[in-house]
């Protein structure tokens, strides 16, 4: 089984190298087919891992270097649990979909696109599965470099340069923070293995070094996750990256940031920081991200930026789930992220179709232009619905698990925040859909962001629209189905318990013990969840209608919204200044909590 984990990383990487090496020699269709085959194989391998990590983790020591006597790890390991395998599977599925979608999308790029996407996949899978801190950084950078290059794909226009540049610089600085944190941890513990670090730090009070190391590495992951105030790069990158690439960014890459943040805490730092309640810090971070993202989402008329801010808001909701520091909260966040990834992916694919067909990403300019595109309209509506999460559809299961978790911990405000955020974002998505596919709504809306520049459609023969819509359709059906997947909730809860169990992690990784799974509990949807799901639906429809009317608002409310939007200036200096401020603030808050 360890070989399966190793192959899940090795196959996309070797396929990428092979495609690049034969780049000039073979016709483009062969490359695309080979890439799809590699991605699909990786997906199959990750599904196997998901199936086999229900009980003990799958631990694989590379090079055969198992830990020495007195449990000093000398090699690199993959420590795969259900959540890790699950997010790797999501990555592989979305990559396969993106590659099928772009089968005829890119002509002049040659083989570059599939090569970079496969490298991106390899990076993501490695990032999800690894148990070594420095190896984590290496895959973080692999993911990053491939992503930066993919963002600038349409490099002939200037927009992509700005988007790719901001993405590169902010995430690279995040990477430097991770490195600094790694240095501090290595200096303190003399180890790079997460389990060993966790064991070394365990039971000792957190001092300045531990707090700083946690802050620095966490900030690096939070930049990747686009949490506020590290989120500035995401909208810029999504606006210019090709639609299939956006699917990957919003669908799984930022979720990996949240996953890594959670893994960092529970594996390495819970022993030392667990006594000091970090919940206010993480919940605050989540709430800030959820609300700022939601507000900015509503204020967008650029379709891809709208979806990007919706992603940021959802990251906030996932962080709320993580921040509850409970099994239900974590399980809810995981299932929510899964359904969100598939739905958001399908929405981006439809957006890609729209932008290429009509030459503009502007919601207002697209008004009514897609009336009659029934397939795309249906998929878009389904995607929007999946994000609303009405009872038993789409994100409903994840949401209700999260809500249960919040109410158990007595944090009902979390429920309110999550609902407000999802109402706003879903409403904006539905508003855009109604405007574009039905022609509803006013023609002008001064509250929305200024008009984006025209985007010229890529010069190529028109793609098979049926295939594109079909791919998006498959993703969205998957997302909707997750709302009532039987057995998903108990497995998610069991997976969450496994994720949080740091003693089992150490035992399984360093001492090769096998910790059996606890029996699966049941999950019963509470009536409150159904009510809240209906409330969300109603709220989203209301926001949609309000949006179609042009967002009538009292004058005093408009100015602060404009200020908030103006902060997103596109200038890298502003972004990095905020990142430094955010790091200092987070460090300060963790220091206070750790007293």
């Amino acid at each position: 089984m360890g070989a399966v984990a190793a192959l899940a990383v090795a196959i996309p990487l070797v396929a990428a190298a092979a495609i690049a090496a034969t780049g000039q020699l073979l016709p483009p269709r062969v490359h695309d087919a080979a890439a799809i085959a590699a991605a699909a194989t990786t997906a199959a391998l990750t599904f196997v891992l998901v199936a086999r990590t229900g009980g003990p983790r799958v631990v694989e020591w590379f090079g055969g270097w198992t830990p020495r006597h007195d449990n000093v790890a000398i090699g690199i390991d993959f420590a795969v649990d259900r959540f890790g395998a699950g997010i790797a599977a999501l990555a592989a599925v979305l990559v396969t979909a993106a590659l099928v979608y772009s089968w005829s999308f890119f002509e002049e790029g040659g083989h570059f696109f599939p090569v970079l996407v496969l490298l991106f996949l390899g990076g993501m899978v490695g990032f999800a599965l690894t148990g070594d801190l420095f190896n984590w950084f290496v895959f973080f950078e692999l993911m990053g470099v491939a992503a930066y290059a993919l963002t600038a794909y349409q490099v002939d226009e200037t927009g992509p340069i700005q988007g790719a540049f901001n993405f590169t610089v902010t995430n690279s600085i995040g990477g430097f923070m991770v490195l600094a944190g790694i240095g501090l941890l290595y200096g303190r513990t003399g180890a790079l293995n997460l389990a060993q670090i966790g064991r070394q730090l365990d039971e000792r009070p957190p001092d300045g070094l531990v707090v700083a190391a946690f802050t620095l590495v966490a900030v690096g992951f939070l930049v990747k996750a686009a949490a506020v105030p590290f989120h500035w790069w995401l909208a810029d990158a999504h606006a210019v990256a090709p639609a299939p690439v956006c699917v990957l960014f919003s669908g799984v890459m930022v979720e990996l940031g949240v996953f890594a943040f959670a893994r960092l805490y529970w594996t390495a730092f819970e022993g030392t920081l667990g006594e000091h309640d970090l919940r206010p810090v993480v919940l605050g971070l989540g709430a800030l991200t959820a609300l700022v993202g939601a507000v900015l989402c509503v204020l967008q008329r650029h379709l891809k930026r709208l979806l990007a801010y919706s992603t940021i808001s959802h990251v906030g909701i996932f962080l709320l789930g993580v921040g509850l520091l409970s099994g239900d909260g974590l399980a809810g966040a995981g299932v929510y992220a899964l359904a969100h990834g598939l739905a958001k992916g399908s929405l981006f694919l439809v957006a890609g179709i729209l932008i290429n067909r009509h030459g503009t990403p502007d919601e207002l300019l697209l008004r009514g232009r897609a009336v009659g595109s029934r397939g795309a309209a249906l998929v878009y509506a389904a995607g929007g619905l999946a994000l609303v999460g009405p009872p038993f559809l789409g994100v409903f299961l994840g949401k209700s698990l999260l809500e249960d978790g919040a109410l158990e911990e007595g944090q009902s405000w979390v429920v309110v925040t999550a609902i407000v955020a999802s109402v706003l974002t879903a409403g904006a998505v539905l508003r855009a859909g109604a405007r574009i596919f039905l022609g509803w709504g006013v023609g002008a809306d001064p509250l929305l962001s200024p008009e984006p520049e025209e985007v010229e459609p890529l010069e190529r023969e028109s793609p098979q629209r049926t295939v594109l819509v079909a791919v998006a359709g498959i993703l969205v059906v998957g997302s909707l189905a997750l709302g009532l997947a039987p057995g998903l909730a108990p497995r998610a809860k069991a997976g969450a318990e496994q994720f949080r169990d740091r003693h089992a992690y150490v035992d399984e990784v360093l001492e090769a013990k096998r910790v059996e799974a606890k029996p699966l509990g049941g999950h019963h949807t509470k009536p409150e969840s159904i009510v809240l799901g209906l409330v969300t639906l109603g709220g989203a429809l209301a926001v949609c209608a309000w949006g179609l009317r042009g967002h009538p608002l009292p004058r005093i409310a408009v100015a602060p919204l404009d200020r908030l939007r103006a902060l997103h200036s596109g200038a890298i200096g502003d972004y990095v200044a905020w990142m430094v401020f955010g790091t200092a603030a987070l460090g300060g808050l963790v220091t206070l909590a750790a007293r």
Binding site: G2, A3, A6, A10, L13, V14, A17, A18, A20, A21, T22, G23, L25, E60, F62, G63, G64, W65, R68, V72, A73, I74, G75, I76, E108, F112, V115, L116, L119, G123, G126, F134, N135, V138, V145, A149, L150, A152, Y153, L184, Y186, G190, A191, G208, L209, L567, G573, D574, A577, W578, M579, V580, F581, G582, T583, A584, A585, G587, G588, T591
Partner: protein
């Protein structure tokens, strides 16, 4: 944000971050007092276990080979990205700038040094696991040799010596080869990057088992990748763009 506002925000943040960092490094051991255990365990065990005199090489290509694989592929991804982003749009090239070096002395000594430089690079790669050096270091040397050809010769000469299909192939072989060697280890010994070759004698070229192979794969890839990077940037400068499209 205005520049003063930005600086102010940064200033506040930097003060806080500085405080965080200073408190942190206060908790580190004093310089020279590395407490281990990772480094000590490997320093003691690696020579006996791997027969490679350069312990760092055995860390890079054996104990932590997965990291190196990732690093190879990061380089590969970046070079692919640069090649993608700098791809020339116009199919017909504009006239190249005439840039051949005119000074005979520069050409004589410069191009004369190319052979020595190439040899030095190859030696650095070859003996990388016995003496200081290695695939990465030597690979950069070899790429620098090509740069020397340009600096002491001309772009045309450089371009002739580095045909793109060949360099692409070398890069793919290096990166792919690295992973494939790991996969052979998986099939032969049960774990990715597990050594499957005999370990040989310490202090000779035939030592270290797979370390020697991986060392060369890395050297090939880094040489090709760095050369390609240099070639792309040079092409970008030497072959001017067609007129900018009107704004």
């Amino acid at each position: 944000m205005t520049r003063p506002a930005r600086l102010g925000l940064f200033g506040v943040g930097a003060l806080g971050l500085a405080a965080l960092l200073v408190r942190a490094v206060g908790g580190l051991h004093g310089f020279g007092g590395y407490p281990g255990p990772y480094g000590f365990v490997l320093a003691q065990a690696a020579l006996g276990e791997r027969h490679a005199a350069n312990i760092v090489a055995s860390v890079v290509y054996d104990y932590r080979a997965l990291d190196t694989m990732g690093e190879e592929l990061i380089l590969f991804a970046a070079v692919t990205g640069v090649a993608l982003l700098l791809r020339q749009q116009s199919p017909e090239r504009a006239a190249r700038r005439e840039d051949a070096v005119r000074s005979d002395a520069v050409r004589f000594f410069g191009l004369g040094a190319v052979g020595a430089a190439a040899l030095l690079g190859l030696l650095t790669i070859a003996y990388g696991y016995v003496t200081p050096g290695g695939g990465f270091q030597g690979g950069v040397f070899v790429a620098a040799t090509f740069a020397l050809v340009w600096a002491a010769g001309s772009y045309r000469l450089f371009h002739h010596l580095t045909p793109e299909p060949l360099v692409d192939l070398a890069e793919g072989l290096g990166a792919g080869g690295f992973v494939v060697i790991g996969l052979v280890g998986l099939i032969a010994s049960g774990s990715l990057f597990e050594n499957f070759l005999p370990l040989g004698t310490i202090n000779t070229l035939l030592s270290g088992g797979q370390i020697a192979l991986l060392n060369w794969a890395a050297g090939l890839e880094v040489a090709a990748a760095t050369t390609l990077l240099f070639a792309k940037f040079l092409e970008d400068v030497m072959v001017p763009e067609e007129e900018e499209k009107p704004a």
